[in-house]
Each structure stands twice: as C-alpha cells, then as structure tokens.
Point group: C2
Chain length 468, copies 2
C-alpha cells in the first residue's frame, strides 16, 4: 500500500429499546439496556463515544411490533425485542447537549408520516447539533406497523420505494430550495430577520404528496441530513443509486460484499453520480479482550445466553421451528409457505436444524472477530483494504461494555495505524466525505432545487416493474 | 383570607422561533432570540427557569406561515414572525438534560399527523423527563398549515374538534390501556423483560383513525402527559370540558376571566369531572424594575420598538389597515370581509385607528403590570385571589431578561408571600394538582381504558352542530 491508510467510519449500532439485535443478552451482568427509558443512559453513552473516538451513533427504529412468530407479539414482548421501544429522534438533542463532535444517524420511515413535519424535525436536529445528523431512510417492513397507521396490510415493497422517492423529492425542495443561503440576514438596525426575496413556497404537487411550504426552518449547516439507506432489493439499489450517501450492505464473504458494493456504486453512476459518492458500511461484531482467552470467554458467554426465541421472532418466521425435531425437512414444516419471510430470506431445502443453525449463527459471517486488540485491528484493516468496506456499525452485545472496550482497547490500536480520522469541528457529512463537504455535492439530485431553481420542473419518478 | 395562600403556577411562554408574540423586539440589545437555532439557547434558558423557581416552560407552535397580511408571507418573514420556526418537542430533551424539576409543555396539532407516532413521542418525552411533560392540544388555524399537509384549505373549525376528540380517544387507549402497570417485570433470571399478559392491541377503528397497537412505549411516570388547551369557542369549551386539565383563558377584565373560567369548569362538570380538575391560566405581561422608573423606562422602550406590521401580520388581517387614514370607518375598509379573521375577533364598527389601537394595545389588558417587585407581586396576588386565576404564562419581551428579572426580583417576593410551591421530585401533574397525582384522576375519560377495559366499547363522540 502507498499513501495514507484508508480510515474507518466507526459507528455504534443502537436502538431506543431493550433488545435490538443481540437477543437474550440484556440480562447480562452490568448490561444497562433496561435503562433505555432514562435520559442518563443516552448522555452517558454519548460521552463514551465522544471520548472514545467513534464517528457517531446510529439509531435503528421500527414503528410496529414483531407479531408473526407463534402468531402473536408475545415472544417479542417477553424478550424486550424492539418493544418497548421509544422514538429515536428525541434522544439526539440530549446526546448533543453533552458532546461536540459525534454524529447521529436516525431511522425514519417514508411510508406513514407527512414529509413536511419530518423535514422540519430534521432541520431542527441539524441546527441543534450544528450539522451532525443523518437520516436512515426506511420504508418499513412490519405488517403491524401498517396497521398502526390506518392500513390493513403493508404497502407492496416496490410501491413503498416509489412513495419514498416522492417523499425525498418533497424534502429536498424544503431543505435545499425553499430558503437561499443568504436569506437570513439578522439585520438589527432595520429590524429584518430574513429577506423575503430568498424564501419561497415549494408548491409540490405529486402523486402521493401535496406540500405548499415555505419550509419553516432556515438553512441548517448541512441542509439535507446525511442520507443513509440499507437495502438489497433491485428497487432499493436503484433508490440508493439516486439518493443514498451511505449504504449499509454486507455479505457472508469478501466477494459478496464487493459484489453488493459494486452494484450500489454502479447504480449511483447511472444516476449521474460518482461511485465515490457512496460510503459502504457493514454491520460488524467485535468481541475484544485483553487476552485471547478473555475475548473467547466473553464470546462463549454471549453465545450461551443468546435467545433462539428472540432470533426466530425477530426473523418473523411464519412457523415455530423449535417445535420440530432438528432433522425434519424444512419443506415439510413450511408446507408451501414462503421459506422464510421478513428479514431473513433463506433458500428452501435442508432440515430444521440447518435453518436454525443458520439463523442463530447468521450474525457471525465475514464481519465478525473475537480476539485481542491486535487481532481485531488486523481483521478490521483486512476488511478495509481487501474487501473495500468504508466503515462499520458496531453491534452491541453489552451496553456499555461493547462500546467502552472498543474505545479503550481497539481505538488506540487503530489510531496508531492511522485508521481513525479526527473529526473536530466538522459536520457529519464532512467526517464521512472530507472537510469542506458539509452539503450534498452538485451532482446529487437534491442540488437541482438550490436557489429555488426547478421547483416547478417535475423530476422523473423512479418506477419499478413487477414486485421483487 | 384564611389558610394557605393560593400558589401561582409560573410558566415561561416560549416558542422555537425568533419572534413569537412580542413583534419587533428581537433586535433589542442583549436579546438572545436570534439564537433559537442553537442548543445552548435552550439549555441556558432551562437553567435560568430551574434555578429561578419557575414551574415550567410552555412552547407554542404552528405548522404553517402567516401569509394572509398584504397577500403573502413577506411581512412574517421579515419580522421573524414564527418563521423560521423549529420543532418544539426536540428542544425538550436538551433542556431536560440540564434540569431536574421544571415542566415542559409542548404544542402539537391533532389535525395533520397520525396519533400512533405522536403517542410514542410523548411517551418517550415523559420517560426521558421522568414525568415532566405536558401537551398543548391544538387543531391548527392557519390556512397555510393545511396546505403543507396535502389539503386545499383548513378543515372547518368544529370538524377539527371532532377529529381531535377521536385523536384523543386513540392516544388514551395507547397511553392508558395498552400496557398494565405491572407489565414491565425486568426479570433477569428468567430473561423476561415484559409480561405479555399485561400488553395488548388497542384495535381502534373510528371515523378518522384506525390504529392496531400495541403502544410501543411502556408506561411512563405520568402515562398521559398533562393536557393543556387554549380555547374560547363553544366547541373548544366542550372539548376542554371532556379532556383538558389546564386551560389558557383570559379576559380584559376580572369579570371576563371569571365568566370564561366558570364556563370551562361547568363544561368539566358536564363531563363527569370536578371543576377543580381544571387549572385556568392566563397569558401575562410583567415588566419589572428595581425602581418604578426603571420599569417604566423598559416598558416605554418595548412599546416604542413594537412592530405594528408584525402585530397585523400575526392577526392575519385580510387587509392592510396601515394603508388607510386612521379616521376611515372600518366597514369601508373591509367591504364585507369578516371584521377580523384569524386570532383576533373584533366586533365590527369603529374606525381604522380604533381597531389598530385595540390590536397594538391588546396585550396589556387586565393581566399586565409594570412596576417594582412589590407592585408586581401585589398585582399577581390580586389576580390569584380576586379573579381566581391559577397561574400565568409569562410573555417574553426580551430573552433572557424577562425570565431572569422575574426570577431575580419577583420570585423572592412571591416566595416570601408563600405563593410559590416547591416542586422537587414531582411530576408536572403533581406540581399542578398536588403530590400523589402523577396520573389522570379516575373520573377523567382516559381512565376508562385502564387495565385494558373498554377498549372495545366506543366512546360517545363529541358532535358539534353548525359551525361556530
């Protein structure tokens, strides 16, 4: 390798709930997850991340219960599996109040709530954090979520992405087009706060939304928050190509990841952007110890305590695999139902035991390492240099041990190797793309509205054919 | 008088914007209002209130621009008149992070956003603040707001209240009925976070909303936030009688106030509640000085700087009165348009000059005092004892001078007279109604859903006849 080593984007993966993805672990000794309702949980965590060298914290969200497994929400409720869960946006101002640098990514769905109010919420957060927020664009996959917002069932997958595409068009108009940079003048002598010449209605009229504007919030440091997205479907990839700046992707092998990332970057190029306008991030599991033995002991304990019920309920399986002998052919169990619905799409065939093993062990894969700080740093460097990942969302097994141990043991090692950038004074977008890039680049579709241009020129909507 | 003196509920009236109601004053020397985008504005203010003996801070909101006056939003934009304005809920967690006692009232409209997501946001805030939040229920009166949410025009007034009534029914089911008090068990041994027996769907099916539940948030300290409302219309009074715990009312004379308050309390009694279940609060203007002269100088300066354009734009007048000679009969100017639309309903007749004087001087009235701490405290005691008010929303002329001067000069005087209660460790509802009353009383309509009772028994909806 020549030149500067590639830096790591280091996010903690969080959710405003008890059991996010490592089910069965909240009762571990010292685990603080049960405190998620308390403000001090979030301010403590934020300080650990700020002083520990993290780029930011990334907050997942759902707006419904996992109620498919065993025909109801009982397992999820028992496990604390994303229920109870609280609003993710509202912990950000508290974390911002005790930090100055870390970024905040928050999940919000484009399927059920009006874009006007959401645009103002994100502008408010971008103001309050001085440019440190990102938005994870999701379209919601839980059936119960649809039923919480007046629908009988989910909107079909590709249709959700079409709605999302128009939702983005609306919020771009509000964020980028409604106020000019120099509209806020704060002229005390003349008593003029903003110059009306620089503020305008957006008058959006589309298939799904009609929004007049003007945007109520003035331009924040980033205007449009950093746009995150997780997807694998053809519709989702096309959507990411047009909109996303950071994609959560993954793969069970380096080749898997490279193929996925390549697909995303090609989609970006199709939409007039550069492949380098995307950052590809993977969810990673890291169990570190001062010694190899300590690390392995921890991992054994985490594995031993992992809740299979929690994983199965999270996977939204239509049947309870634990009720069958392991050697039962999976086809017999499913009797024509889709192999695995929801988040985990497995190929049909095999036995109950094989599917269970795959689900339970499924979080390990390529982006998982157990070991000493040196072993962990070596592995992360491999992900960066061989696979080409840009960063990780660090899975939490234990709060706050996972973050604290990473900060105390791995971060100094990564720093020695030049793998972590100092982000002081930067916006989140600058932390990800470099100083001077607080706002979306000119070739991003949102930029077309700057200065109020093109507000009356409809964008070609994304259209997807048959359901994927 | 015998017994304990009646205590004062002392709220600061705020809004996440530049110019809330005292238009023209943001450029005053030392006024910090232009900093409303910054997190430190809110944390500084919260600490002033916490240490200054305030009960809480009350945040107004609108979700549209004032764009009627002179046919557009230009005046509002120039004046900073509620535009730019940011989301009110998002500053609460930051203020909560630096305080332990003060309450937070936030405005949210029932007309445009789904109840499920809002219910979770308020539960999140009640958790994060440990029971210190209230909700100011509004139905939105700005035409531009309707156009930001897909409508061509406002929903008619009484219809908005009918929708609000069902909105309340939905959120009561989520807040009071979906989770039992003992549902969250946090049993580390058995790995059970919540007991599914105590958590249920609400399956609300109404005229305006269909919401399945379960509520995603577990029961917070207050469950239902303290319910605030401001109204004067027959529909609004009936609505308050069923739902509100604190009403913003007023009057130009003591008799006005007493009549209004009596009307509210009678409405409460009609809905099976006690007149004492309502707290009646007025907006008050207080200009205090160490000497009478200092106070009068300040008031003269505030008056001199007041923006008539700001007041007229805020009043959403259909015509520009400043374009006519003062002696012009108002009927000539209006030519059949409603006398004064929007917030200020004036009787027809009189001259342009008379209407202008009434609008500009309209904030003084009964609940306004200029003077030394003794004069101010005497006057407030009169409002409490003679009129029967329960508290005030203190209008800000200058941020933070208004709050700081009240805290430094008036609060010690009110304390000496036994007019301020210590609220340490209490929820907001307890600060208003007494220790032990963290939750709504049993005879409030929301209580019918406790323990999951009555979720399938429809409530009689409020119906209003002809538009008021």
């Amino acid at each position: 390798m020549t030149g500067e080593p590639k830096p790591l984007i280091l996010n903690l993966f969080e959710m405003n709930t008890v059991s996010h993805i490592t089910h069965g672990l909240w009762p571990l000794e010292g685990n603080q997850r049960h405190r998620f309702n308390e403000l001090s949980y979030w301010t403590e965590l934020a300080q650990i991340l700020e002083h520990g060298g993290f780029t930011g914290v990334f907050l997942a969200d759902v707006v419904g219960a996992y109620d498919t497994f065993r025909g109801g929400p009982e397992t999820a409720i028992r496990e604390g599996l994303q229920i109870p869960s609280n609003d993710p946006l509202l912990v950000i101002p508290a974390m911002a109040a005790v930090t100055e640098r870390i970024g905040f990514g928050a999940t919000f769905s484009t399927s059920y709530e009006p874009p006007f109010a959401f645009a103002r919420r994100m502008s408010t957060l971008d103001h309050l954090t001085n440019g440190r927020v990102g938005w994870n664009i999701v379209t919601s996959y839980l059936k119960n979520a649809a039923r919480n917002f007046g629908l009988d069932d989910q909107i079909p997958h590709d249709r959700r992405y079409e709605i999302a595409d128009e939702f983005l068009d609306v919020v771009y108009k509000l964020w980028e087009g409604s106020w000019d940079d120099d509209a806020v003048v704060v002229d005390r002598e003349r008593g003029v706060y903003s110059d009306p010449e620089g503020v305008r209605y957006i008058d959006h009229v589309g298939e799904h939304f009609r929004v007049a504007g003007p945007h109520l919030a003035s331009p924040s440091r980033q205007r449009t928050p950093v746009l995150f997205q997780a997807t694998g479907s053809p519709a989702g990839i096309e959507f990411a190509g047009r909109h996303a700046e950071v994609v959560f992707t993954g793969g069970r092998t380096a080749e898997d990841f490279r193929r996925n990332a390549r697909g995303m970057r090609e989609a970006a190029v199709r939409h007039g952007r550069s492949g380098d306008d995307l950052r590809c991030i993977v969810q990673a599991g890291v169990v570190v110890g001062r010694t190899e033995e300590e690390a392995q002991d921890r991992w054994r304990e985490y594995r031993r305590r992992t809740s299979i019920d929690g994983i199965l309920a999270h996977a939204s399986l239509p049947v309870d695999l634990t009720a069958y002998p392991r050697e039962t052919p999976i086809d017999v169990v499913l009797r024509g139902e889709p192999a695995i619905t929801g988040r985990f799409q497995l190929p049909p065939g095999g036995t109950v035991g094989e599917v269970l093993d795959k689900l339970v062990g499924g979080r390990e894969g390529r982006y998982f390492v157990v070991g000493t700080p040196t072993v962990v740093a070596d592995e992360i460097e491999r992900w960066l240099d061989e696979d080409g990942i840009d960063g990780i969302n660090l899975r939490q097994y234990h709060s706050f041990d996972t973050a604290r141990d990473f900060a105390d043991l791995v971060v100094p090692e990564l720093r020695r190797r030049g793998r972590l950038r100092d982000g002081d004074g930067l916006t989140l977008r600058e932390q990800l793309f470099g100083a001077g890039r607080a706002r979306l680049p000119e070739h991003h579709i949102a930029a077309r509205y700057r200065g109020g241009r093109n507000l009356d020129v409809p964008v070609e909507p994304l259209r997807f054919g048959a359901p994927v």
